[in-house]
């Protein structure tokens, strides 16, 4: 196991990518639960309804342990791997988007291919995003006693 505390690295990168998303006009939601049981590390929803995912990889081992990243592709319009400066980016699939991030921000190094969602799935995912974000807003706010078990 690597020496660094990887959950901390993931949290820092998530924060940086969330900032990038906000700059790009994507309202960011971490740990977005999908209908297939997986969680997208960071999901972003723009004003036009476009849904973008970023999958944070804290280190090579983290990437290699995830054989199923293709499971995300059917649930977003664009998919990015997001890694730190020390990640060997050459390991990542060249056909997918790439974000380089740190705790304070990020930059798109390679644009993701656009794979537009079908309308019915887009509607279902937008609703799911809305309900999870509302539960998160409650849980994080003063009303932490409300809605914890809602979704």
């Amino acid at each position: 196991a690597p020496g660094a505390a990887r959950p901390d690295v993931t949290a820092a990168l998530t924060r940086g990518v969330a900032r990038l998303f906000a700059e790009l006009g994507l309202a960011p939601l971490a740990e977005f639960r999908l209908p297939n049981g997986r969680r997208a590390d960071l999901a972003g929803l723009d004003r036009a309804g476009r849904l973008v995912f970023a999958e944070i990889k804290s280190c090579q081992a983290d990437f290699e342990a995830d054989a199923k990243w293709t499971d995300y592709l059917g649930y977003c319009d664009a998919f990015y791997f997001a890694v730190g400066r020390d990640f060997p980016a050459g390991l990542l699939p060249a056909g997918e988007g790439l974000i380089l991030a740190d705790a304070f921000g990020g930059a798109i190094m390679r644009a993701a291919p656009e794979r537009p969602l079908a309308p019915a799935r887009r509607r279902a995912l937008t609703l799911r995003f809305a309900r999870q974000a509302a539960a998160r807003a409650l849980g994080a706010g003063a009303d932490g006693d409300v809605g914890g078990g809602l979704l």
Copy 2:
């Protein structure tokens, strides 16, 4: 002006109605900004995408100052007034829904008529709800420095 601190009453009732919404399976979002510039005191979105509003009235003066509550009707499937036990409920329009609330919960006293949203507007409102809720979740959480000016 009434002696009681009405903003506190509104905040308490909002909390109670948010609990009721959560019990009813409606993910609650306070201060939902609408395309017409108004804000719904509390919006709730259920698993099927049904959008319910509750307009909190802290006292008779609060209700009488709001000549434009009908502006909300075109942006939700069901509309409720929500008031406390001391509110003269007979003043409220008999054709609209009524919730009786306190700081800890609420109950539907009169069901709201269902006025289903047109599909395009429902999609637009769900997306709007999703983005506002995500911004709220960020603002309320540890990443208060992110996304404040996003939406």
